[in-house]
Protein backbone atom coordinates (compact mmCIF):
# COMPACT_ATOMS: atom_id res chain seq x y z
CA UNK A 1 0.00 0.00 0.00
CA UNK A 2 2.13 2.84 -1.29
CA UNK A 3 0.88 6.41 -1.44
CA UNK A 4 0.35 8.14 -4.77
CA UNK A 5 2.94 10.75 -5.72
CA UNK A 6 2.74 14.28 -4.31
CA UNK A 7 4.87 17.40 -3.91
CA UNK A 8 6.22 18.08 -0.46
CA UNK A 9 6.59 21.46 1.22
CA UNK A 10 8.00 22.19 4.66
CA UNK A 11 7.27 25.83 5.59
CA UNK A 12 9.12 27.36 8.51
CA UNK A 13 6.47 29.86 9.60
CA UNK A 14 2.72 30.03 9.92
CA UNK A 15 2.61 32.82 7.33
CA UNK A 16 4.53 30.67 4.89
CA UNK A 17 2.20 27.76 5.54
CA UNK A 18 -0.86 29.94 5.01
CA UNK A 19 0.70 31.32 1.86
CA UNK A 20 1.21 27.84 0.49
CA UNK A 21 -2.33 26.85 1.35
CA UNK A 22 -3.61 29.86 -0.51
CA UNK A 23 -1.44 29.28 -3.54
CA UNK A 24 -1.52 25.51 -4.06
CA UNK A 25 -4.45 23.56 -5.45
CA UNK A 26 -5.36 20.26 -3.82
CA UNK A 27 -3.06 20.61 -0.82
CA UNK A 28 -3.36 18.99 2.61
CA UNK A 29 -1.70 19.81 5.87
CA UNK A 30 0.53 17.14 7.35
CA UNK A 31 0.50 17.40 11.14
CA UNK A 32 1.05 14.21 13.17
CA UNK A 33 0.24 12.05 10.19
CA UNK A 34 -1.34 9.30 12.27
CA UNK A 35 -4.70 9.70 10.54
CA UNK A 36 -3.66 11.19 7.21
CA UNK A 37 -0.77 8.91 6.24
CA UNK A 38 -2.76 5.66 6.58
CA UNK A 39 -5.38 7.13 4.27
CA UNK A 40 -2.69 8.14 1.83
CA UNK A 41 -1.00 4.73 2.00
CA UNK A 42 -4.35 3.19 1.12
CA UNK A 43 -4.84 5.83 -1.59
CA UNK A 44 -8.15 6.90 -0.06
CA UNK A 45 -6.81 10.46 -0.32
CA UNK A 46 -4.34 11.53 -2.98
CA UNK A 47 -3.45 15.18 -2.46
CA UNK A 48 -1.19 16.82 -5.03
CA UNK A 49 0.63 18.72 -2.30
CA UNK A 50 1.48 17.98 1.28
CA UNK A 51 2.35 20.91 3.54
CA UNK A 52 4.32 19.58 6.49
CA UNK A 53 3.87 21.88 9.49
CA UNK A 54 5.98 19.81 11.90
CA UNK A 55 8.66 22.48 11.63
CA UNK A 56 6.40 25.17 13.11
CA UNK A 57 7.73 25.04 16.64
CA UNK A 58 5.71 28.07 17.63
CA UNK A 59 2.58 25.98 17.33
CA UNK A 60 3.68 23.46 19.96
CA UNK A 61 3.23 25.28 23.24
CA UNK A 62 0.96 25.05 26.28
CA UNK A 63 0.18 28.27 28.10
CA UNK A 64 -2.04 29.33 30.96
CA UNK A 65 -3.35 32.87 31.16
CA UNK A 66 -6.56 34.78 31.85
CA UNK A 67 -8.43 31.81 33.20
CA UNK A 68 -7.79 29.75 30.08
CA UNK A 69 -5.37 27.14 28.88
CA UNK A 70 -3.99 27.77 25.40
CA UNK A 71 -2.65 24.81 23.46
CA UNK A 72 -0.81 25.18 20.18
CA UNK A 73 -2.30 23.06 17.42
CA UNK A 74 0.92 21.13 16.90
CA UNK A 75 1.23 20.10 20.55
CA UNK A 76 1.77 16.34 20.60
CA UNK A 77 -0.71 14.20 22.47
CA UNK A 78 2.22 12.73 24.40
CA UNK A 79 3.25 16.23 25.52
CA UNK A 80 -0.29 16.89 26.72
CA UNK A 81 -0.18 13.69 28.77
CA UNK A 82 3.08 14.73 30.37
CA UNK A 83 2.05 18.35 31.02
CA UNK A 84 1.62 19.54 34.58
CA UNK A 85 -0.68 22.31 33.33
CA UNK A 86 -3.04 19.83 31.71
CA UNK A 87 -2.96 17.51 34.72
CA UNK A 88 -3.86 20.35 37.03
CA UNK A 89 -6.23 22.47 34.94
CA UNK A 90 -7.72 20.07 32.37
CA UNK A 91 -7.64 16.70 34.14
CA UNK A 92 -10.48 15.39 31.98
CA UNK A 93 -8.13 15.76 29.01
CA UNK A 94 -5.48 13.72 30.78
CA UNK A 95 -8.08 11.01 31.39
CA UNK A 96 -9.26 11.15 27.78
CA UNK A 97 -5.73 10.88 26.37
CA UNK A 98 -5.27 7.44 27.93
CA UNK A 99 -7.76 6.26 25.32
CA UNK A 100 -6.28 8.11 22.36
CA UNK A 101 -4.47 5.57 20.21
CA UNK A 102 -1.26 4.10 21.56
CA UNK A 103 1.87 5.62 23.03
CA UNK A 104 3.63 5.34 19.67
CA UNK A 105 0.88 7.31 17.89
CA UNK A 106 0.69 9.87 20.69
CA UNK A 107 4.36 10.71 20.12
CA UNK A 108 3.38 12.09 16.72
CA UNK A 109 -0.34 12.81 16.87
CA UNK A 110 -1.38 16.37 17.66
CA UNK A 111 -4.41 18.04 19.18
CA UNK A 112 -4.83 20.25 16.12
CA UNK A 113 -4.69 17.28 13.82
CA UNK A 114 -7.31 15.47 15.83
CA UNK A 115 -9.69 18.42 15.86
CA UNK A 116 -9.26 19.11 12.14
CA UNK A 117 -9.65 15.45 11.15
CA UNK A 118 -12.73 15.43 13.38
CA UNK A 119 -13.44 11.71 13.56
CA UNK A 120 -16.86 11.36 15.26
CA UNK A 121 -15.19 9.33 18.03
CA UNK A 122 -12.31 11.72 18.68
CA UNK A 123 -11.77 12.02 22.41
CA UNK A 124 -10.06 15.40 22.16
CA UNK A 125 -13.07 16.75 20.30
CA UNK A 126 -15.25 15.64 23.20
CA UNK A 127 -12.98 17.51 25.61
CA UNK A 128 -13.07 20.59 23.40
CA UNK A 129 -16.86 20.36 23.33
CA UNK A 130 -17.03 20.10 27.13
CA UNK A 131 -15.12 23.32 27.58
CA UNK A 132 -16.67 25.23 24.66
CA UNK A 133 -13.11 25.58 23.47
CA UNK A 134 -12.18 28.19 20.88
CA UNK A 135 -10.14 27.35 17.84
CA UNK A 136 -7.93 30.03 16.35
CA UNK A 137 -7.63 29.74 12.61
CA UNK A 138 -5.15 31.55 10.38
CA UNK A 139 -5.97 32.29 6.76
CA UNK A 140 -5.05 34.58 3.95
CA UNK A 141 -7.10 37.39 5.43
CA UNK A 142 -5.86 37.12 9.02
CA UNK A 143 -7.07 35.07 11.93
CA UNK A 144 -10.51 34.23 13.26
CA UNK A 145 -11.72 32.39 16.35
CA UNK A 146 -14.30 29.62 16.02
CA UNK A 147 -16.25 28.52 19.10
CA UNK A 148 -16.28 24.76 19.25
CA UNK A 149 -20.07 24.64 19.02
CA UNK A 150 -19.65 26.02 15.49
CA UNK A 151 -16.61 23.94 14.59
CA UNK A 152 -18.14 20.68 13.30
CA UNK A 153 -20.12 21.39 10.14
CA UNK A 154 -20.84 17.73 9.50
CA UNK A 155 -19.27 14.31 9.40
CA UNK A 156 -15.48 14.86 9.56
CA UNK A 157 -15.96 18.41 8.27
CA UNK A 158 -14.65 21.23 10.44
CA UNK A 159 -15.35 24.88 9.78
CA UNK A 160 -12.00 25.30 8.09
CA UNK A 161 -11.59 26.67 4.60
CA UNK A 162 -9.05 25.03 2.28
CA UNK A 163 -6.67 27.95 2.68
CA UNK A 164 -6.89 28.03 6.49
CA UNK A 165 -4.73 26.53 9.22
CA UNK A 166 -5.75 25.92 12.85
CA UNK A 167 -3.08 27.40 15.10
CA UNK A 168 -4.32 27.28 18.68
CA UNK A 169 -7.07 25.85 20.83
CA UNK A 170 -8.10 27.79 23.91
CA UNK A 171 -9.89 26.13 26.80
CA UNK A 172 -11.69 28.62 29.08
CA UNK A 173 -11.54 27.18 32.56
CA UNK A 174 -14.58 26.96 34.85
CA UNK A 175 -14.46 29.45 37.70
CA UNK A 176 -14.77 26.62 40.24
CA UNK A 177 -12.79 23.53 39.28
CA UNK A 178 -15.39 20.92 38.37
CA UNK A 179 -15.46 17.23 39.09
CA UNK A 180 -14.67 15.40 35.90
CA UNK A 181 -15.01 12.03 34.24
CA UNK A 182 -14.15 10.49 30.92
CA UNK A 183 -15.68 7.12 30.22
CA UNK A 184 -15.09 5.28 26.99
CA UNK A 185 -16.30 2.01 25.53
CA UNK A 186 -14.14 0.43 22.84
CA UNK A 187 -13.55 -3.17 21.85
CA UNK A 188 -9.86 -3.08 22.76
CA UNK A 189 -7.54 -0.66 24.51
CA UNK A 190 -6.58 2.15 22.16
CA UNK A 191 -9.27 1.41 19.60
CA UNK A 192 -11.51 4.17 18.34
CA UNK A 193 -14.28 4.72 20.86
CA UNK A 194 -17.59 3.21 19.93
CA UNK A 195 -18.99 5.77 22.34
CA UNK A 196 -17.14 8.00 24.78
CA UNK A 197 -18.67 10.41 27.30
CA UNK A 198 -16.92 13.31 28.98
CA UNK A 199 -18.47 15.09 31.89
CA UNK A 200 -17.76 18.15 34.04
CA UNK A 201 -19.87 18.88 37.09
CA UNK A 202 -20.05 21.34 39.94
CA UNK A 203 -22.12 20.36 42.96
CA UNK A 204 -23.09 22.96 45.53
CA UNK A 205 -22.93 22.56 49.28
CA UNK A 206 -26.55 21.38 49.36
CA UNK A 207 -25.74 18.55 46.98
CA UNK A 208 -27.42 20.07 43.96
CA UNK A 209 -25.85 20.27 40.55
CA UNK A 210 -25.04 23.90 39.81
CA UNK A 211 -23.29 23.38 36.51
CA UNK A 212 -22.77 20.38 34.26
CA UNK A 213 -21.46 19.64 30.79
CA UNK A 214 -21.83 16.32 28.97
CA UNK A 215 -20.14 15.59 25.65
CA UNK A 216 -20.68 12.38 23.70
CA UNK A 217 -18.30 11.20 20.98
CA UNK A 218 -18.88 8.30 18.64
CA UNK A 219 -22.66 8.14 18.87
CA UNK A 220 -23.59 10.69 16.24
CA UNK A 221 -21.71 11.87 13.17
CA UNK A 222 -20.21 14.73 15.16
CA UNK A 223 -19.43 15.08 18.84
CA UNK A 224 -22.51 16.30 20.72
CA UNK A 225 -23.07 18.28 23.85
CA UNK A 226 -26.25 16.93 25.48
CA UNK A 227 -27.72 20.38 26.15
CA UNK A 228 -31.15 19.05 26.96
CA UNK A 229 -29.82 16.60 29.52
CA UNK A 230 -27.58 19.29 31.00
CA UNK A 231 -30.51 21.68 31.40
CA UNK A 232 -32.59 18.99 33.07
CA UNK A 233 -29.78 18.25 35.53
CA UNK A 234 -29.13 21.79 36.78
CA UNK A 235 -30.68 22.21 40.19
CA UNK A 236 -31.26 18.49 40.68
CA UNK A 237 -29.73 16.54 43.53
CA UNK A 238 -26.55 14.79 42.50
CA UNK A 239 -27.60 11.22 43.24
CA UNK A 240 -28.09 7.87 41.52
CA UNK A 241 -31.77 8.44 40.79
CA UNK A 242 -31.06 11.73 39.04
CA UNK A 243 -28.30 10.22 37.00
CA UNK A 244 -30.41 7.24 35.98
CA UNK A 245 -33.13 9.54 34.66
CA UNK A 246 -30.63 11.82 32.94
CA UNK A 247 -28.91 8.92 31.26
CA UNK A 248 -32.24 7.59 30.03
CA UNK A 249 -32.64 10.90 28.24
CA UNK A 250 -29.09 10.65 26.93
CA UNK A 251 -29.99 7.27 25.44
CA UNK A 252 -32.49 9.01 23.18
CA UNK A 253 -29.84 11.04 21.42
CA UNK A 254 -29.46 10.70 17.67
CA UNK A 255 -27.00 7.97 16.75
CA UNK A 256 -25.50 6.54 13.57
CA UNK A 257 -25.75 3.12 12.02
CA UNK A 258 -22.80 1.54 10.27
CA UNK A 259 -21.75 -1.90 9.07
CA UNK A 260 -20.22 -2.79 12.41
CA UNK A 261 -22.38 -1.16 15.09
CA UNK A 262 -26.07 -0.21 15.09
CA UNK A 263 -27.56 3.10 16.15
CA UNK A 264 -29.52 1.32 18.85
CA UNK A 265 -26.39 -0.06 20.47
CA UNK A 266 -24.73 3.35 20.33
CA UNK A 267 -27.73 4.83 22.09
CA UNK A 268 -27.51 2.11 24.72
CA UNK A 269 -23.86 2.96 25.30
CA UNK A 270 -24.67 6.67 25.45
CA UNK A 271 -27.10 5.87 28.24
CA UNK A 272 -24.80 3.51 30.16
CA UNK A 273 -21.68 5.64 29.83
CA UNK A 274 -23.48 8.89 30.66
CA UNK A 275 -24.73 7.32 33.87
CA UNK A 276 -21.23 6.14 34.76
CA UNK A 277 -19.67 9.49 33.83
CA UNK A 278 -22.19 11.48 35.86
CA UNK A 279 -21.53 9.31 38.90
CA UNK A 280 -17.78 9.59 38.61
CA UNK A 281 -17.83 13.34 38.01
CA UNK A 282 -20.09 13.81 41.01
CA UNK A 283 -17.74 11.78 43.23
CA UNK A 284 -14.86 13.94 42.11
CA UNK A 285 -16.92 17.08 42.57
CA UNK A 286 -16.81 16.27 46.27
CA UNK A 287 -18.60 18.60 48.64
CA UNK A 288 -22.27 17.83 48.95
CA UNK A 289 -22.40 15.12 46.34
CA UNK A 290 -24.33 12.09 47.57
CA UNK A 291 -22.58 9.47 45.49
Amino acid sequence: MKAAPFSYHAPSSVDEAVGLLGRLEDAKILAGGQSLVPMMNMRFVQPSHLIDINGLDELAAISRADGAVGIGAMTRQAALMQSDVIARDLPVMADALVHVGHFQTRNRGTIGGSLCHLDPAAELAAVAALYDAEITVAGGGGTRVVPFAEWPLGYMMPSLAPEELATEITFPLWPAAPGHAFVEFSRRHGDFAIVAVGCLMVVDAAGAISRVAIAVAGADQVVRRLAGVEAALVGETADAGTFAEASRLAGEMNAMDDAHVSAGYRQRLARVLTERALGEAARRAGAGARI
Binding site: M1, K2, A3, A4, P5, F6, S7, Y8, A10, L30, G33, Q34, V37, P38, M40, N41, M42, S48, L50, D52, N54, A78, G101, H102, F103, Q104, T105, N107, R108, R188, H189, G190
Partner: protein, 162 residues
Amino acid sequence: MSEKHIITLTVNGVTHTAEAEPRMHLGDFLRLELALTGTHLGCEHGVCGACTVLVGGEAVRSCLMLAVQADGARVTTIEGIAAADGSLHPLQAAFHAHHGLQCGFCTPGMIMSLAAYLRDHPGAGEAELRDALSGNICRCTGYQAIIESGLAAARAMGGKAD
Protein backbone atom coordinates in the same frame (compact mmCIF):
# COMPACT_ATOMS: atom_id res chain seq x y z
CA MET B 1 5.64 16.28 -9.46
CA SER B 2 7.26 14.15 -6.82
CA GLU B 3 10.81 15.37 -7.10
CA LYS B 4 13.25 13.62 -4.79
CA HIS B 5 14.58 15.39 -1.74
CA ILE B 6 18.05 14.92 -0.33
CA ILE B 7 17.95 13.99 3.33
CA THR B 8 20.61 13.41 5.93
CA LEU B 9 19.86 11.33 8.98
CA THR B 10 21.74 9.34 11.56
CA VAL B 11 20.66 5.74 11.90
CA ASN B 12 22.13 3.61 14.67
CA GLY B 13 24.93 6.12 15.00
CA VAL B 14 25.87 6.18 11.32
CA THR B 15 25.08 9.28 9.25
CA HIS B 16 23.57 8.73 5.82
CA THR B 17 22.79 11.15 3.02
CA ALA B 18 20.40 9.87 0.40
CA GLU B 19 17.59 10.83 -1.92
CA ALA B 20 14.01 10.08 -1.07
CA GLU B 21 10.77 10.57 -2.91
CA PRO B 22 8.39 12.43 -0.62
CA ARG B 23 5.89 9.59 -0.62
CA MET B 24 8.39 7.02 0.62
CA HIS B 25 7.74 6.33 4.28
CA LEU B 26 10.55 5.96 6.77
CA GLY B 27 10.05 2.20 7.09
CA ASP B 28 10.54 1.70 3.35
CA PHE B 29 13.49 4.10 3.36
CA LEU B 30 15.28 2.12 6.06
CA ARG B 31 14.61 -1.17 4.29
CA LEU B 32 15.13 -0.18 0.68
CA GLU B 33 17.69 2.64 0.75
CA LEU B 34 19.74 1.64 3.79
CA ALA B 35 19.23 -2.15 3.52
CA LEU B 36 18.22 -2.24 7.19
CA THR B 37 15.57 -4.92 6.82
CA GLY B 38 15.16 -5.61 10.53
CA THR B 39 12.25 -3.16 10.66
CA HIS B 40 9.21 -4.97 9.27
CA LEU B 41 6.03 -3.78 7.57
CA GLY B 42 2.97 -5.63 8.79
CA CYS B 43 0.08 -3.38 7.81
CA GLU B 44 1.21 0.03 6.51
CA HIS B 45 -1.74 1.69 8.19
CA GLY B 46 -0.36 2.22 11.64
CA VAL B 47 -2.04 -0.48 13.70
CA CYS B 48 0.19 -3.54 13.95
CA GLY B 49 3.30 -1.86 15.35
CA ALA B 50 5.78 -4.16 13.61
CA CYS B 51 7.44 -1.12 11.99
CA THR B 52 8.16 0.71 15.27
CA VAL B 53 11.52 2.50 15.41
CA LEU B 54 12.88 5.29 17.64
CA VAL B 55 13.11 8.78 16.20
CA GLY B 56 14.80 11.21 18.54
CA GLY B 57 14.44 8.48 21.14
CA GLU B 58 10.64 8.34 20.77
CA ALA B 59 8.84 5.24 19.54
CA VAL B 60 7.03 5.96 16.28
CA ARG B 61 5.40 3.92 13.55
CA SER B 62 7.84 4.19 10.68
CA CYS B 63 5.08 3.45 8.14
CA LEU B 64 3.31 6.67 9.16
CA MET B 65 6.30 8.96 8.97
CA LEU B 66 7.69 10.15 5.65
CA ALA B 67 11.40 9.66 5.13
CA VAL B 68 11.70 13.34 4.29
CA GLN B 69 10.36 14.13 7.73
CA ALA B 70 13.35 12.32 9.22
CA ASP B 71 15.83 14.75 7.68
CA GLY B 72 18.18 15.70 10.48
CA ALA B 73 16.78 13.08 12.81
CA ARG B 74 18.45 10.49 14.98
CA VAL B 75 16.91 7.09 14.30
CA THR B 76 17.40 3.83 16.17
CA THR B 77 16.32 0.49 14.76
CA ILE B 78 16.52 -3.11 15.98
CA GLU B 79 19.92 -3.42 14.30
CA GLY B 80 21.25 -0.71 16.55
CA ILE B 81 20.32 -1.66 20.08
CA ALA B 82 22.86 -4.34 20.83
CA ALA B 83 26.08 -3.11 22.42
CA ALA B 84 29.06 -2.14 20.31
CA ASP B 85 30.79 -5.40 21.20
CA GLY B 86 27.76 -7.33 19.97
CA SER B 87 26.38 -8.30 23.35
CA LEU B 88 22.62 -8.30 23.39
CA HIS B 89 20.47 -5.53 24.78
CA PRO B 90 18.66 -6.68 27.93
CA LEU B 91 15.43 -6.85 25.92
CA GLN B 92 16.99 -9.06 23.29
CA ALA B 93 18.43 -11.30 25.98
CA ALA B 94 15.12 -11.45 27.83
CA PHE B 95 13.14 -12.32 24.70
CA HIS B 96 15.54 -15.18 24.10
CA ALA B 97 15.42 -16.44 27.66
CA HIS B 98 11.63 -16.28 27.91
CA HIS B 99 10.66 -17.46 24.42
CA GLY B 100 9.23 -14.04 23.64
CA LEU B 101 9.35 -14.65 19.91
CA GLN B 102 8.20 -17.41 17.59
CA CYS B 103 8.16 -16.30 13.95
CA GLY B 104 10.05 -13.11 14.83
CA PHE B 105 8.13 -10.81 12.51
CA CYS B 106 6.53 -8.58 15.17
CA THR B 107 9.60 -8.81 17.39
CA PRO B 108 11.61 -5.77 16.26
CA GLY B 109 8.56 -3.58 16.79
CA MET B 110 7.90 -5.15 20.18
CA ILE B 111 11.47 -4.65 21.32
CA MET B 112 11.79 -1.07 20.08
CA SER B 113 8.45 -0.20 21.68
CA LEU B 114 9.51 -1.76 24.97
CA ALA B 115 12.92 -0.09 24.81
CA ALA B 116 11.27 3.31 24.78
CA TYR B 117 8.48 2.45 27.19
CA LEU B 118 10.64 0.83 29.84
CA ARG B 119 13.12 3.67 29.68
CA ASP B 120 10.29 6.06 30.56
CA HIS B 121 8.37 3.70 32.87
CA PRO B 122 10.98 1.47 34.51
CA GLY B 123 8.65 0.21 37.20
CA ALA B 124 5.87 -0.91 34.86
CA GLY B 125 4.05 -4.05 35.96
CA GLU B 126 2.18 -6.61 33.94
CA ALA B 127 -1.13 -4.79 33.57
CA GLU B 128 0.58 -1.60 32.54
CA LEU B 129 2.79 -3.36 30.01
CA ARG B 130 -0.18 -5.17 28.53
CA ASP B 131 -1.88 -1.83 27.93
CA ALA B 132 1.31 -0.27 26.62
CA LEU B 133 1.78 -3.06 24.08
CA SER B 134 -1.80 -2.85 22.82
CA GLY B 135 -0.34 -1.06 19.81
CA ASN B 136 1.71 -4.11 18.80
CA ILE B 137 0.04 -7.17 17.33
CA CYS B 138 1.42 -10.70 17.64
CA ARG B 139 -0.29 -13.66 16.02
CA CYS B 140 2.04 -16.38 17.29
CA THR B 141 2.74 -16.07 20.98
CA GLY B 142 -0.49 -15.00 22.65
CA TYR B 143 1.55 -12.21 24.28
CA GLN B 144 2.28 -13.87 27.62
CA ALA B 145 5.92 -14.65 26.86
CA ILE B 146 6.39 -11.17 25.43
CA ILE B 147 5.12 -9.61 28.66
CA GLU B 148 7.33 -11.88 30.72
CA SER B 149 10.27 -10.93 28.54
CA GLY B 150 9.48 -7.24 29.06
CA LEU B 151 9.18 -7.64 32.83
CA ALA B 152 12.46 -9.58 32.96
CA ALA B 153 14.20 -6.93 30.87
CA ALA B 154 12.79 -4.21 33.12
CA ARG B 155 14.34 -5.92 36.13
CA ALA B 156 17.65 -6.27 34.31
CA MET B 157 17.50 -2.63 33.29
CA GLY B 158 17.07 -1.62 36.93
CA GLY B 159 13.33 -1.24 37.22
CA LYS B 160 11.39 -2.34 40.25
CA ALA B 161 8.59 -4.14 38.44
CA ASP B 162 6.57 -6.80 40.23
